[in-house]
């Protein structure tokens, strides 16, 4: 590996040679944020994979801004990156397809890019929310609240569908006052949890599928008058180290971010090594798993 050749006197001119061979050894990764465990895990897993295969992973975080993402995708093209993994805004379909067309290895993940011709790896969001709701139903809960992401985002839409499906299958109504759908922020979780625990008749169980909101919701619940899990059960989706460190540790439906990343790496490698007649269109879905910890129990 070149890594060991720490002597700059020997310097193959990679920029010039890239113009000839289109092999720079660079892989890009777009993420919306570096602040959540799913994205850390994706970045760290792909970085290890890249190092093992003599590629270098360059990570771009965009705050979910399609324009910053577009700018990075231009860099991927102009600097002849060999490939790119996009766990991004869901926008920029034209740029994604142009990269595929130009022969770059491209994988989208985590959020749909509608109309994209690149293979994708997605979380089974609907399944995750359904499994989480079924876990609460199995414990005997009927008055179940939910704090969810916005309806216009893939995960927000699908998580809601999974919650709805499980409640409907159990013959239970989904009550407006118990369902909060909003932005991916701790602030939203804080206010939603505050409203829910302050209800004259609070829920006996809470499903949080809005990951960032859980960071605001959990402290409100932990400091509140409802004891967890005796009076209020809580379950989240998308595992996170912090959940295991909370008191009591938080029951979760794990989206298995490392497996998502491994799937993306495999789809990338197939393109990097497979040549132009490789069949491209593939959509993988990673199944979630229930991780029972201490925040769920039968209703009081």
């Amino acid at each position: 590996m070149e890594a060991a050749a720490a002597n700059l006197q020997y310097e193959p001119n990679r920029t010039a040679s890239a113009l000839r061979t289109r092999r720079t050894g660079l892989i890009g990764l777009v993420v919306n944020t570096l602040r959540t465990a799913t994205f850390h895990t994706i970045a760290e897993t792909l970085q290890c994979w890249a190092a093992q295969h003599d590629y270098q992973l360059l990570v771009c975080t965009t705050g979910g801004d399609p324009a910053r993402e577009a700018s990075f995708l231009q860099t991927v093209r102009q600097h002849h990156f060999d490939g790119v993994v996009i766990a991004g805004s869901g926008a920029n379909t034209d740029l994604v397809n142009a990269l595929v067309q130009a022969g770059h290895a491209v994988v989208t993940m985590n959020r749909e890019v509608p109309g994209s011709s690149a293979p994708s790896v997605m979380s089974a969001y609907e399944t995750a929310a359904r499994m989480a709701t079924e876990h609460l139903l199995d414990l005997g809960h009927t008055r179940i609240a939910a704090i969810e992401g916005p309806p216009e985002v893939t995960s927000g839409r699908l998580h809601h569908a999974g919650f709805l499906a499980a409640m409907t299958a159990a013959g239970l109504p989904v009550l407006d006052e118990l369902v909060w759908r909003g932005p991916f922020t701790p602030d939203f979780g804080r206010s939603a949890a505050g409203e829910l625990v302050g209800l004259p008749e609070p829920p006996t169980a809470l499903l949080v599928t809005n990951h960032e909101a859980s960071f605001g919701a959990l402290p409100v619940i932990g400091d509140g008058e409802l004891r967890v899990p005796d009076q209020l059960s809580v379950i989240c989706t998308e595992d996170e180290p912090f959940y295991a460190w909370w008191s009591p540790p938080v029951t979760t439906v794990d989206n298995r971010a490392a497996l998502l990343a491994t799937g993306a790496a495999e789809l990338l490698l197939a393109q990097l090594t497979g040549g132009p007649d490789q069949p491209l269109q593939r959509a993988e879905v990673v199944a979630p798993v229930l991780v029972e910890r201490g925040t769920t129990a039968p209703p009081p």
Copy 2:
């Protein structure tokens, strides 16, 4: 900004033009991990700064491996990045100096690169540990334990010196059985905390300057028989959102990662715009602040 020009038909050949002008608009950032809040904050802060100044930040995470870091520094050189911020292993002095020599803007931060000629921004690790210890001393503690990083790493060495200085100034002994120095892992924190709370005469206060170890130590303490803060006070260094969400929220000496990153950005910008006669050698130190939350109180 080019970001908006999402039309790949117009494609200035950046690779070729870089060979002429040495202006690619790319800034590199090396971090050891993307799993801790200090590194997220550094990456996100620099990313926002870069977007504002029409640069693109490409992040490389190395697991602290000097060879992977070296490989990335080669990429910085070979792809004519305009600059690089290194919050890395502390190794690779020769590569760092070669980049400075070759006219790249270079800033090191967080960990010393001995012999480096690049300007640096550092945390005041010694001050942070001294302030944390003094907070415990002011509350009346004398039997104070510490979970620290390894002595061969800048932060491990300096945090220990700060702890020692405060204890010595107070005329108190530092007892071998109460000081644990080891790797930056939750596992180390878990076992160190287990030993400390299991002592026949446990400490009344604990300073955790090994950030990763705190993630293992806090759950052990939270689940243990010593009530926090009535029987055991706990203070950490290097703030982290999780600390505010713990029950009770964790008192911390905040290293102010965003300020560290802003300092690095300013030193970078000075080089990017200042031309070759810019005085390079500068070492900035960011002062920490005490954030009193719920885990520290007078001894029982």
